[in-house]
């Protein structure tokens, strides 16, 4: 059986490092016993529940927009198409988080309400001007570039899966470059 590794305590580390250096390199495991932790946790839970209860409307909006922003970032990084992240769906989510009607929002960003409605229903593609305006409206939290990527990921997915158009266009090609096949 492998011998249990002797781990350093704060006191051990403080012989080698200053406190600032410890904080820049470590977070140590808890050393409280289960009973000590249980007692201390009661006080902490009260703190946590109060913290949640005392969040202002603006705190909640900011928190939800941060969640949205990070989920979009992760989605783009994973680069795997998911309709949930279509621009139209994310715009709907944005209006829901910021508690705005389509009418309010269309006035705030100076877009015709009918056009906004078509974009939200996925009947019209977003243009770059709208993405800039949404970036400004969200005070820079949602970047126009990321929003544009949501749109292009959808276009890519549609293009890759549109076999009918592919074959129709293939049929119109009269001559290829005729590369010799490698033997």
């Amino acid at each position: 059986m492998a011998e249990k590794k002797k781990e350093p305590t704060y006191e051990d580390l403080s012989k080698i490092y200053t406190d600032e250096e410890i904080v820049e390199s470590f977070v140590l495991r808890s050393t409280l016993s289960e009973d000590e932790k249980k007692e201390a946790h009661k006080e902490f839970l009260k703190f946590r529940m109060d913290r949640l209860k005392n969040m202002s409307e603006s705190d909640i909006i900011l928190s939800n927009l941060m969640r949205m922003k990070i989920q979009i970032q992760n989605y783009i990084e994973q680069n795997e198409y998911n309709p949930r992240f279509d621009f139209s769906n994310q715009l709907k989510e944005y209006l829901s988080i910021t508690k705005r009607t389509q009418k309010d929002f269309s006035e705030e960003i100076d877009i015709h309400p009918a056009q906004l409605n078509r974009i939200i229903r996925g009947k019209e593609n977003p243009n770059v001007d709208l993405l800039y305006r949404l970036e400004k409206h969200s005070e820079g939290l949602l970047k126009a570039k990321s929003l544009y990527r949501l749109h292009t990921m959808k276009l890519e997915s549609e293009m890759v899966n549109d076999e009918e158009s592919r074959l129709a266009q293939y049929d119109r090609v009269k001559q290829t470059i005729s590369l010799a096949k490698a033997s």
Binding site: K4, E21, V23, E24, F26, L62, S63, M66
Partner: protein, 155 residues
């Protein structure tokens, strides 16, 4: 995710990656590089920070625990590789990046970036000054705007 660190010698940028640890990584996390037994963290979520140019070298590790009922992410253990600690360290901000990464997870889960850690009492003020944590009984915590500020600084 990709992050930018700075070399201490000339402040030049250096690209790094933070990602979930794989089973095979435990064989390279040896006691010659790390003081703590990271095998004990196998059942938690553990993330590693590696340089983009040398992804088999693990420069830092963070182990977190999700408490969904309390809407918080707890940092159970964080450690940098020995040659990145104290006066020997060659690269700045590794710990700040790993803590900010935990905050990012806490935002993603809808916890308002609420992250906790249990400091030794001698270190409590230092975690507050260095990263912006505040007192919450036996833990220190960060969330909301302070959490966003820390993420903006390090990620």
């Amino acid at each position: 995710m990709e992050v930018t660190l700075r070399k201490r010698s000339n402040n030049s940028p250096i690209q790094a990656i933070i990602e979930k640890i794989e089973k095979s990584d435990y064989s390279v996390i040896t006691s010659s590089d790390y003081l703590f037994d990271w095998n004990l963290e196998r059942y938690n979520e553990v993330y590693k920070l590696t340089l983009k140019s040398s992804m088999d070298e693990v420069l830092g590790l963070i182990s977190i625990v999700d408490y969904p009922d309390e809407k918080r992410i707890d940092i159970n253990l964080l450690e940098l590789r020995k040659d990145q600690t104290g006066k020997k360290k060659k690269i700045d901000s590794i710990a700040g990046c790993l803590i900010s990464f935990a905050i990012q997870i806490a935002f993603e889960k809808g916890y308002n970036g609420f992250v906790t850690l249990e400091p030794k009492k001698q270190l409590r003020d230092h975690y507050q000054r260095k990263y912006g944590f505040i007192d919450a009984g036996y833990l220190v915590v960060i969330d909301g705007q302070a959490a966003i500020d820390l993420m903006s600084k390090y990620l």
